[in-house]
Amino acid sequence: MNVFATARFYLHLGLLLGISVLLICILVAPTLIPNGLFLYTLSIAIALIGAAVFWALAYFRPVEADAANDELVQFSEQKSVILGYWATLAVFMVMAGLTLTDNLDARIAFYFLGFPLGIIPSIYMVIAFMRGRAG
């Protein structure tokens, strides 16, 4: 199995699980969430480490990286991003409605927009991978 495609699969799975857990914590037990700035820094650090890992894989295994980024994968990624866009727009409309009617704090609504943006493309890519449509 292509190591680059496998790494991407686990990255999306990790994103999906991580953001889902965070969402559940916010909804069910907000007190479990530590300092927001800590989570923010942690997210940035994980993103940088992920980027470094992918760069290293692409550098040391260029043939596999090319095959794992072929047009089928790019097509799946485009569809995942499009789906993420519409999902985020839908959530935005809901959040805007709740905020304008004073049923939700604008700050919380802002954070919620990050979930469809982060989760939906990853859900799509995980499913695409399992169906043999992404590397």
């Binding site: 043939v63 047009e71 089928l72 994968v73 043999g132 449509r133 992404a134």
Partner: protein, 66 residues
């Protein structure tokens, strides 16, 4: 309208596996598999590349299946 293809036939005539063809065209085996099964429509560049490797023309390889 769908895109039909004779890729499997030409690939086997050349004695190539999906993985072998994928390696020669610098894509993944899954891409070749999805093209063969009509799930994925390849770009012009990939279609030309596949046709070149299996030694035929794009017109012989792909056709419109109405």
């Amino acid at each position: 309208m769908k895109l039909g293809n004779n890729l499997r036939k030409y690939r086997k005539e050349r004695g190539l596996t999906q993985a072998g063809l994928a390696e020669l065209t610098k894509v993944s085996r899954k891409t070749i598999n999805t093209v063969e099964n009509g799930v994925f429509v390849p770009s012009t560049v990939l279609a030309l590349s596949i046709a070149k490797v299996v030694g035929t023309s794009v017109e012989e390889l792909f056709y419109l299946d109405s």
